[in-house]
Amino acid sequence: MQPVTRIVGTAAPLDRSDVDTDQIIPASWLKRVERTGFGIGLFSAWRENDPDFVLNRPEFGGAKILIAGPNFGIGSSREHAVWALTDFGFEAVVSPRFGDIFRNNATKTGLVPVVVSEEFGEALLRAVEHDPTLEIMIDVAEGWISAPSVGLESEFTLDEFTRHRLLEGLDDIGLSLRHVDKISAYETGRPAWMPSVDPD
């Protein structure tokens, strides 16, 4: 994973709540066995059926930040949703509430989930709708999101572990493997009734 410290760019306003991962990347795209090439599937049903859909509007082309309503990324665990967003060019998603699995998946790939209050999210969304060129800054190190030219700014929280990983671009499997002795010690104490799979 590449380190992410600061994101500066324009945003696309997705004025919908309860955006589930089936919408972000429909099931027909999930047959691929690679991690790349999902950008063309991003919101494909909405992009195909609605010419006014935000990602079809040229003024929001090149946006690095997606601003959505509450409960973004609920539903299916498919990490393909994150891969589709990053492949399309998004580096952060702003929402008052994320589905837990989506949020975890995002941080593994370096897509920053920015949790803001409903009021701030709404204000930012309106500001971007009003001015698609509005510049937004996300400071991962400090936990701030701001749109200086319209005077909007807010803190956002990331747990320490996730922030550290994002800033340093660390592989979290490597981090867990630092505790391999503890893992081995834990394994010796597991109850004997726990199942293990026999080969057929």
Binding site: I101, K108, P195
Partner: protein, 466 residues
């Protein structure tokens, strides 16, 4: 100190905890399927890492498998490639796999419990959000993404943020004809699709205690539709009776030891939950969803709501969008809405008890002309058991298609899909736009309502059939 069931399980599985770190949890069972694993195996290969505990890992093919002609080569080349990747990866990393047409193959969340691989006190994960199903046994079970799948493969552990606790208590007695599916739909209708985010839900109360294991699995399965990290039910004699004697259940002295252990798991009487929600079970009616998320439900006696009936502007907008997509007019009684398709299947409602219930409703009756109705058993074991009981004949005689095991029309990755504009009564768990096929319209119902609806052609309960 008094603890809840989920707190006890969390603490038992802590491998490492430190300020500034996430808790590192040990994983007792990792279930793997073809859709969310190929990129994880690739990651292992790139980093030259083995699977740490192949013996705590089981794979099956379920999401992307055909449910007819399973003895023939797979027609879709992309699907075939994905299933081949699972074969190759499992062979290369030493993981036991139940492939298409294997007698133990089926939906991950159906086969884990039926093999006895899901037991109280365990941590169970899978690259699938409905892993919450396994919480019905008093296990801590949750869905993970592909990076986490790779993480578990490499370390048998997962770094996690500790969720908050939430109790949902359903007391009273269910009325006749009301099922576990109706209970969970009523719960999601009440707390909403984001109501459980950041929480582990423990379901409690007399209604939950009275449910069979199949019913409890249906409830825990849909915890994720309320946004919850996991759903759990304390283990009791119903749980133990279900587990005893299954392929991987402990035997003899180990069984006794396991029982002693499992009896210590239920939430202590003085333990407190961060959130408490209560429902009157006696008031729950059979439910039908009308919208495009699982919180948009009404009792079957109700009508399609009008967007204006919602308090906040956001909900009004979501409702209006959903009604347009669903092609529904506010005020239409649910019972007058006609369906094109009935799907009985998915990890929510495809177990033997679900099929018995549905077969009971359709026995001696005929599916309404022009309604396509199909039954997709959750596993090949469920299918075999149903055939021993003659349920397949009952379904086929009534006009249902009888299929092999898989996710099928629950997510429409294989050929079983709704066409645009088609309306479906489905026992699955998600009515998202396009979930069962692009443009398809899904109404979530119980197996009893699905079966009755297949006969009536419009939403119905078994008691209304002539």
């Amino acid at each position: 100190m008094s603890k809840t069931l989920s707190e006890k399980l969390w603490e038992r599985h802590l491998v490492h905890e430190a300020p500034g770190d996430q808790d590192l949890l040990y994983i007792d069972m990792h279930l793997v399927h073809e859709v969310t694993s190929p990129q994880a195996f690739d990651g292992l290969r790139l980093a030259n890492r083995p699977v740490r505990r192949p013996d705590l890992t089981l794979a099956t093919a379920d999401h992307n498998v055909p449910t007819i002609h399973i003895d023939r080569p797979i027609a879709d080349p992309v699907s075939a490639t994905q299933l081949r990747a699972l074969d190759t990866n499992c062979a290369a990393f030493g993981i036991e796999l139940y492939p298409l047409a294997h007698p133990n193959q089926g939906i991950v969340h159906v086969i884990g419990p039926e093999l006895g691989l899901t037991m109280p006190g365990m941590t169970v994960v899978c690259g699938d959000s409905h892993t919450s199903t396994h919480g019905a046994f008093g296990a801590l079970a949750f869905g993970i993404g592909t990076s986490e799948v790779e993480h578990v493969m490499a370390t048998q552990c997962l770094p996690q943020i500790r969720p908050r606790t939430m109790a949902i208590t359903v007391d009273g007695d269910l009325q006749p004809g009301v099922t576990a599916k109706d209970v969970i739909l009523a719960i999601i209708g009440m707390i909403g699709t984001g109501g459980g985010i950041g929480h582990i839900i423990e379901y409690r109360g007399s209604v939950i205690r009275a449910l069979s294991m199949e019913g409890r699995m249906t409830i825990c399965n849909m915890s994720i539709e309320a946004g919850a990290k996991a759903g759990m039910i304390a283990p009791d004699d119903t749980t133990f009776a279900y587990v005893e004697g299954r392929k991987y259940a402990p035997r003899g002295v180990l069984w006794e030891r396991a029982l002693d252990d499992w009896r210590t798991l239920p939430t202590d009487s003085a333990a407190e939950f961060a959130r408490d929600v209560a429902l009157d079970g006696s008031a729950i009616r059979p439910h039908v969803s009308w919208g495009t998320n699982p919180g948009q439900v009404v009792p079957i006696d109700g009508a399609v709501p009008s967007p204006e009936s919602f308090d906040d502007a956001g909900a009004r907008e979501v409702a209006a969008r959903a009604l347009t997509y669903m092609g529904l007019v506010p005020g239409t009684p649910m019972r007058e809405i006609a369906v094109d398709t009935v799907f009985i299947g998915s990890c929510t409602n495809s177990r033997i008890e679900d099929l018995r219930l549905a077969a009971d409703v359709v026995a001696g009756r005929t599916v309404k002309p022009n309604v396509r109705a199909m039954v997709v058993p959750g596993s090949m074991m469920v299918r075999a058991q149903a055939e021993v009981e003659g349920l397949d004949r009952i379904f086929k005689d009534a006009g249902f298609e009888w299929r092999a095991a898989g996710c099928s029309m629950c997510l429409g990755m294989n050929a079983d899909k709704l066409r645009a504009g088609e309306r479906c009564a489905s026992t699955s768990n998600r009515n998202f736009e396009g979930r069962q096929g692009p443009g398809g319209r899904t109404h979530l119902v119980s197996p009893a309502v699905a079966a009755a609806t297949a006969i009536a052609g419009t939403f119905a309960t078994p008691s209304e059939l002539g």
